[in-house]
């Protein structure tokens, strides 16, 4: 009997490898026992990078200035200082909840796609690991987005189609729809499609249809239809 040797990589190695060899990483994850650190570590990294990007990048500066400026003009008691102290806390908690809650929801969506549409049973916790590792791409995307915004001097600038049409109102549905075509969103969605393919055993094309249907078609549909 031929024994198969599984090379166990560290979590950090998996997080880096998922950027270049997502298929291999997910094969290892699917065959290995449950390790929720694959979800926790990348998601915490995403939270950390987002908080740092906001607090020390152009997003936070713009948001803080708008918030405190708006209140200081109407508030003679100087509540602006309190606002400046509180909004980073509220922002960080919001990001924490969004990242962890979002990853749990996305894992459910992937699991649901597999269970109902693809007719394949697999562990929801394994799906959570896949979603968590896919978040590594988002970490990279956050850094690039912050740099793009800093370079262009526009907080709405991001590596997406919305960068090309020139001066377009950021509130319009068209701008938002273009914004959905972010390079890193496409990348992370593709990585999740590969993950679903490995989990369910279906072809990448088929899993990509479902993953892109939710993460792109429905998203753009919501932007257009809302």
């Amino acid at each position: 009997m031929k024994e198969q040797e599984h090379i166990q990589t560290t979590t950090w190695a998996r997080m880096l490898n998922v950027l270049v060899f997502p298929g291999d990483v997910f094969e290892e994850v699917v065959s290995a026992p449950l390790r929720l650190v694959n979800w926790r570590a990348p998601t915490l990294l995403v939270v950390l990078v987002t908080i740092i990007s906001i607090q020390f990048g152009p997003f936070g500066a713009s948001f803080g200035a708008n918030l405190c400026g708006t209140n200081s003009t109407s508030d003679p008691f100087g509540r602006g200082d309190l606002l400046a102290a509180w909004w980073p806390v509220a922002s960080s908690l919001n990001i924490f909840a969004a990242a962890f809650g979002g990853s749990i929801w996305s894992a459910f969506v992937l699991w649901f796609i597999g269970r109902v549409f693809l007719g394949v049973r697999f562990s929801w916790l394994k799906t959570l690991e896949i979603v968590g590792l896919s978040g590594t791409v988002l970490t990279l995307g956050l850094i690039v987005t912050s740099l793009t915004a800093a370079i262009f001097g526009d907080i709405h600038a991001c590596p997406a189609f919305s960068l090309f049409p020139g001066k377009l109102d950021s509130a319009t549905a068209l701008f938002q729809a273009f914004g959905a075509f972010d390079l890193f969103y496409i990348w992370s969605t593709a990585v999740m499609a590969i993950g679903l393919s490995k989990l369910s055993g279906v072809s990448v094309k088929e899993s990509a249809f479902w993953v892109f249907s939710y993460w792109f078609a429905i998203r753009i549909g919501l932007i257009i239809l809302a």
Binding site: G60, A90, N94, W105, G119, E206
Partner: protein
Amino acid sequence: MNPALLYLSATLLKGRARQFVRNLRRPTTATGFASVVLAFGVLFHFRRASGFGDVVRPQVLVGACLAMLGGSFFKGFLQRGLVFELADVEFVFTSPFSKQQVLFYQLLPGYLYALAQSAAFFVLFESHLTHPVIVSLSLLLLQIACFHIATGAAIFAGSISDEAHHRLKWMLLFFYFMIAALYLRKAWDLRLVPAFMNSPLAQGFFYPAAPLLDIGTCPFVGRWSTCLANHEFAGTGDLLPPLAYLFLFGIATLTTLASVLRLNADIFEPSLATTTALEERRSRLRQGRSAAAAGEHGSRSLALPKVLLFRGGGAIVWKNLAVALRSRRQLLLAATFTSIYTGFLLALRWILHRELADGGELMASELRDFDKGIAGMLAALVFFLQRAFPFDLRRDGQHLVQFRTLPVSPLMLVLAELAVPTLLCLLFQAGGIAVLFLFAQVDLRMALLVLLAFPAVALALNAVWNLHYLLAALRRAGNRTESAGPVTMVMVVALSFLVFYPAGWLAIEVGRHTFGPSSEVIATMAWLAVQYSVDVLLVLLLANLFQRFEVARDS
């Protein structure tokens, strides 16, 4: 199309028409046909009404086209293969016709149906259309195209596996849902999606393709921050520190739980030994025995007593005294507790004494009341001490059967059982009382009260608890091994206080209704009289219960 198949189609059509006409003789078929004709007649009569014009508006026609195209494809996809007559399977399939000829043969009725449908459309909507002929012909061609699509979908669906068919079916439904939502939004301005679904927070549902930077700086964060800042400004932000503590302790709880769950040590072997030992201990306690395992003490036997007091029922007193002497650990624990308790009370009295010595002023009556309070607290010590001396029916409950064989009256036996714990309670209280007498200015009346009241209290409490122990022993003897529940314990504790109620109530009433310097003495005497009466009643009740033990056992 092959002429033979054309002839076959025409013949079949003619046959079906004849069959239909013949079926009109049946009332149900005739009624159905009449209904259709009538409905068409009504529509034809009102064909120039404005409502008909609304039906041929562009958005309705587009919707109808989408429904026809989508519906025909889905119908064919679900059908999985073409549907023929059984006779066709037997004769057409085996004949030398090509695939295309068979397909035409299958589609021909559909073409005729499309022709009839477009003719009806022309008749009904001709007055509302600019180019009625072109639109009707377009409808004819669209309907035929739909038949082609349905046929193609049926052939394709028949050629794929069940698994692929299942997955494609869901894909189609998803696609139709998106198209339908888009059509309703654009054609009819129906918003199926609420506006908040487009907010940054809702985008969190698309993690990891979510704009976290927008989520972290969305208007909600601004509102939340303003709310927090306003609360702190108004001084109502006191909830935040407790919440922060709660969060921290929650994290600590989860972390420690995770650490415990990750321990690789074997839990079963050590747990088995611990559980067995604990269960033995519980079992001993349930049976009224000592919590320590037998054989741990290794005490020497004591010589038989020569004092007359320990003869007869006194032998049980002697036995319990022997047990008490051997239970050094329990006596030590009780002594330690008593020292702490009385030490605290005497420290209070010492502070008062020092303050008075330093020139503090206090009325004599107030000082006496303070000393009475200290004495009362010392009397209350018996509530705790009683539980520390299990040298009564708590242990002897398992020997009730043997006690019944002894030549001792039930009353004597009960008194013997109560003697040792009551005496020990009084002995331990005595130390505190002696020191109190040293500091306080105790007159004869007070000393007499203490000497008479303390035994009454100790006896009452021991009697109440022994009542409970005796009832528990009776239950055990009746093979009902359940231990006392919390409700029972609460009832016993409540009874421990209630036994002092009659005496207390009477003393207060007497004090209210008597006047002069002797009022307090009379009230105290009334208290003592009633309390001792209650004690006697309790002892008699215990004796009576013990007397009935045989009956309870037999039943």
